[in-house]
Symmetry: C2
Subunit: 325 residues, 2 copies
Amino acid sequence: MAQHALRGGVDLGGTKIQTVVVDAEHQVLGQARRSTPTDGGPPDVMGAIEEAMREATDQAGVPPGNLNGVGIGAPGAIDEESGSLARAGNLPGWREAYPLASELGARLGTRVLLGNDVQVATDAEFTLGAGREFDSVLGVFWGTGVGGGIVLDRRPWLGRGAAGEIGHVVVKPHGAHCPCGRRGCMEAYAGRRAMESRARKAHDEGEKTILFKLMEERGRDRLTSGVWSRAIERGDELATRLVDEAVAAMGVGVASTCNVLDVDAVIIGGGMGVRFGEPYARRIMDAMMPHLFHDDAPPAMRVAELGDLGGALGGALLVVDAVPA
Amino acid sequence: MAQHALRGGVDLGGTKIQTVVVDAEHQVLGQARRSTPTDGGPPDVMGAIEEAMREATDQAGVPPGNLNGVGIGAPGAIDEESGSLARAGNLPGWREAYPLASELGARLGTRVLLGNDVQVATDAEFTLGAGREFDSVLGVFWGTGVGGGIVLDRRPWLGRGAAGEIGHVVVKPHGAHCPCGRRGCMEAYAGRRAMESRARKAHDEGEKTILFKLMEERGRDRLTSGVWSRAIERGDELATRLVDEAVAAMGVGVASTCNVLDVDAVIIGGGMGVRFGEPYARRIMDAMMPHLFHDDAPPAMRVAELGDLGGALGGALLVVDAVPA
């Protein structure tokens, strides 16, 4: 296969940077992962991306400059025209717009494209994963926060650039505080960060839980999906109650969104979504049913299939869409 | 102008049937209105549509058979392929599918097309009215119920045929009973039918209000938009509180929908929306602001411009889209 048909993809997350090199059939020829720098600024983060991309291209046996392009799924505010990224709250010191596409493109010697992280992960599931058989999907990425991606009539729907904020559908007016500063958002109940705050508060107020003990045993400094999962397996009441509340909140918010969009399918992804898997996707659907207007024709419900590489594979799809090989 | 460039449009509502005949520039050459039959079944309703259509074509000086087609904005479940309408709960005896397009088409001697009533009204505002300057709009029709229509990237979004049910976005889980049988829907607070139920219950429980006295004075048997408006002008506390609750509910539901869709503009229509007009559109926007994720870039807010003819003009647009003149 000609090297110029190869593409790079990057999932730029607050915790890790995942890169892939894929061929025209989306087969992974190389992959690498780095922890996202926790201090510094955009140039430091870009350095880590470059390193991880070069490791993946080495594995694939292609110089980065021979790639047909590199697509990055990124958090924050993306200006596609200028290829800049701003207000990426989960990345260190990344408030002002930084010309990531041009700077990284110059270093790697290839074209760099930016897309919204959740949207590219949804596009990947739509094109290559759990959404292959459908024409319209709603991706619900249940992780640190709750992100949403939308594909309608086989095309991403981005709105004015900020569509898909399903985590901030209001599920309880004047309800729980959300990390976004508002109240009653779906993410205030279902986002892992918000769930941890709620657990910590209950624990501080004397409620018994093994969540934080499990966290320490596993050498973690936050309640990972694995910690939540383990606590529930062991019958921890607080963990069970908070996850039940998360499922109920997603039932309300995802059903409301489906009443508006009437998509073919909902795809549940993200760290929590994939960890909890099919049984919880069914529970979310059960929680949606009382709120679905057309409950005789609910959308299909699927768990994301592409795992940890989904975001990076979606990044690589940006190159397919923009630059025919 | 050649007669074959003329089109018919019908707004088939639970209370009235409005027809128009328009030319290629969407100018109204004839119009008529009938009360929707309150008993009988589909043939009776179809008879009333035919009468109203013939009155409009007489005005326009064209035999119905010379129209390029007639488009109907209809409530209920539409099968576009077969041109049948089913489950139109607001029309008498209209549960089973009835082949409205072919039957009425045979009577009028022209092609008849069916579209969802709220969607065609949204299309009319998008093409000819308050949405002209935008590429994507959310139509919110605040009337007996609360209907929604969606235009994305200049095209209607219908989902699997049932998109736009913004009235059934959940604004308060386990909240007020909605006419749809569920609880806590936006329509349970903002739909005129639900508002009347709430007013009647409060009145029966002894709360003072002039709503029902105004209704009787005006010779009505239900709380019309005009009755609500008059009661508020006179400082009626119950009416004021219920309309405040309606505005708050729309703030939550429309903001949540905008967080997902990120449209250019929201258009407020319907009997209540048009009666209350700009000041209440501003109040709805104010109520949305605390829940908008991107509150630095709220959508534009407009009141529908096409008035009582909007639905029928939207019906006529179905012919433009389907049958080039």
